[in-house]
């Protein structure tokens, strides 16, 4: 709580004293009277103090778990449980990520003891868990010479969990695989459907895989090998450092596009039978071990919406990523491949993708392009990003360059075409 002198009567006091002095010295009662009135005001302002504020605050929301984009009405009522308040101003603690789309989160009123004043406004729901901050209250005495500022909290939370899309496009995965049978082609022969090679028969090979034609032609026993197809373990690594909050021309941060893409990819990968996990380099450590199934689908949906490491507002401090990378390396299963979702706005994240790839976690980068061309700085950053993409591709790390205005399917389709 802060009590503050506003100093707004100092000028009046000076004028009043000068008038009084002039009235007395010139023996002019009329001028003296003017001064006396002014001194009276100034004295009143000096003697009164800002009232003690004792109020109760209540806040209700029309829907505590809205869908993204839904309009949520917030109603705040304030009841005076103390002395009369001549001038009370209230500003509600709207969560920083939300925009007020209708009404005003402010109130200015006089409030008698026992009385209640209310106001309401509407916010647009966005991904995340949004906690309302304390309301700021400002009370002044009648003269406005002193004011008391305080915060009054009441817990209200709005949780917006976007659903995962019902279906998604095929994700171009690297040919690095787990031990379980699944849809990812490998570079080794074995059981599968696509012809891969023939080799010398080894005792124990299935009779169905013996190349009988060749046996008839040459008398040699050989075995046909098919391209093995296996299930992949994929960890989506989301860049949520400060730079990933840079926004596109529409004002949407790159992170939101990355989270959208992660949702679509989760659906696709889980539908195809892959194990999917999530990691993020953000304000808080974020790790969900890869696995399959409906429980994982629900867990990922929740994590992508409300994890504090993926907050819709940028982290306040710089994040030390090197430690997070070390942690991630410890957590990643040996056979896991990673898809790094990043706007690629600095060299460091490109280096990390390269390092993970070098450690044996085949890396792919999916990069929402939020760079613009309306200023030299934007054009330079766009060029630097292009250079990073070239460098990654030169190091055999596939980069899916996605312009968020276009559908993700399009970018993924182009990446599939580029696959060897």
């Amino acid at each position: 709580m802060t009590v503050r002198q506003t100093h707004r009567w100092y000028g009046v006091a000076a004028a009043a004293f000068f008038a009084a002095a002039a009235g007395v010295l010139a023996s002019r009662p009329a001028i003296l009277l003017v001064g006396v009135v002014g001194v009276g005001y100034a004295a009143y302002a000096r003697l009164t103090t800002a009232p003690e504020v004792s109020v109760t605050l209540e806040r209700t929301v029309s829907d505590p778990e809205p869908a993204p984009g839904a309009a949520v009405e917030v109603r705040v009522s304030i009841t005076n449980t103390g002395e009369p308040l001549f001038d009370l101003r209230v500003v509600d603690g709207v969560p920083p990520a939300l925009d007020v789309i209708e009404g005003s989160p402010r109130l200015g009123t006089a409030l008698r003891p026992g009385k209640t004043a209310a106001f309401s406004y509407t916010v647009e729901a966005k991904r995340g868990r949004h906690e309302f901050g304390p309301a700021t209250l400002l009370a002044r005495d009648a003269s406005g010479a002193e004011e008391r500022e305080l915060e009054q909290g009441v817990e209200t939370t709005l949780t917006c969990l976007p659903s995962l899309p019902p279906a998604g496009p095929t994700i171009p995965l690297r040919p690095q695989t787990a031990q379980y049978t699944g849809p990812v082609p490998t570079t080794s022969g074995g059981a599968g459907v696509e012809f891969y090679a023939t080799r010398k028969y080894r005792p124990g090979d299935a009779m169905t895989r013996v190349d009988w034609n060749r046996l008839a032609r040459t008398g040699e026993l050989s075995t046909v090998e098919f391209r093995e197809e296996r299930m992949a373990t994929v960890v989506l690594v989301i860049d949520a450092r400060q730079s990933a909050y840079a926004s596109d021309a529409e004002g949407t941060p790159a992170l939101e596009h990355a989270v959208d893409a992660a949702r679509t990819m989760t659906t696709s990968l889980l539908d195809d039978g892959h194990q999917v996990g999530i990691a993020a380099f953000g304000a808080e450590p974020c790790w969900l071990a890869p696995t399959t199934g409906e429980d994982q689908r629900a867990a990922i949906r929740r994590l992508l919406a409300v994890h504090p490491g993926l907050k819709p507002t940028p982290p306040a401090a710089q994040i030390v990523v090197s430690r997070r990378v070390r942690e991630l390396r410890r957590q990643l299963p040996a056979n896991a491949q990673v898809i790094v979702l990043t706007p690629l706005l600095d060299d460091y994240i490109a280096t990390i993708a390269g390092r993970l790839d070098a450690y044996g976690h085949a890396a792919t980068v999916l990069s929402p392009d939020v760079t613009g061309s309306s200023s030299p700085g934007q054009r330079l950053v766009g060029t630097e990003r292009g250079l990073r993409i070239e460098r990654l591709r030169g190091n055999q790390i596939p980069v899916i360059d996605w312009t968020p205005a276009d559908p993700l399917e399009q970018a993924l389709g182009m990446a599939r075409e580029r696959q060897p």
Binding site: A20, V24, A43, V94, A246, S247, L380, T383
Partner: protein
């Protein structure tokens, strides 16, 4: 303290009451034997208090709470905004020498080297030499900005236009260099 305040307030209220009484009954005031000198002293005291009030007002700004503006969610900047801001800030400074200037030039040079190497299939060293020679771009301003001492200054007409334009000189040079780098990259 508030006790003293209350006593003084009560004393003041009594005096105001007396004053009002004298206004209503001027005869009573005339009966009070107040010498002229006392009145002069009271008048001067009021004038001194007036001067003190003026001094107090001069030494203090009108204060007030700064209430938050929660209507709009946090907006983040587009990428490259920090670069544009830095250039604008540097341009307002007299004589652009120092670490900031070097950082801007190094960043442009690093991007230019990579872009020229990619565009013409050169090694980094060859690209650096081409930039030093000023032959990497057709823009004389960009060529002069990153080029070595042998690169000629832009034509007089161009320099005059930059000098007379509303955009500060440094900003204009940086803008044109950034544009030349972007153009070279797009033309690869």
């Amino acid at each position: 303290m508030s006790h003293v305040k209350d006593i003084l307030a009560s004393f003041g209220a009594v005096l105001v009451g007396l004053g009002l009484l004298f206004v209503l009954q001027p005869g009573l005031a005339a009966a009070l034997p107040i010498p002229r000198l006392t009145l002069v002293v009271i008048g001067l005291l009021a004038a001194v208090e007036g001067i003190r009030s003026v001094q107090r007002r001069r030494g203090s700004e009108i204060a007030g709470a700064e209430l938050p503006d929660p209507e709009f969610g946090i907006e983040t900047d587009p990428p490259g905004d920090d670069f544009d801001t830095r250039i604008a800030r540097l341009s307002t400074r007299r004589g652009w020498i120092g670490g900031d200037f070097d950082r801007v030039e190094n960043r442009l040079r690093t991007a230019a080297v990579s872009v020229v190497a990619a565009r013409y299939g050169l090694s980094k060293r060859e690209a650096r030499e081409r930039i030093e020679a000023g032959s990497w771009t057709e823009d004389p301003v960009a060529a002069a900005f990153l080029g070595g001492p042998t690169v000629p200054q832009p034509p007089l007409e161009v320099r005059l236009r930059i000098r007379l334009g509303t955009t500060p000189k440094f900003q204009r040079y940086v803008d044109r260099t950034a544009d030349a780098i972007a153009a070279t990259w797009e033309a690869r």
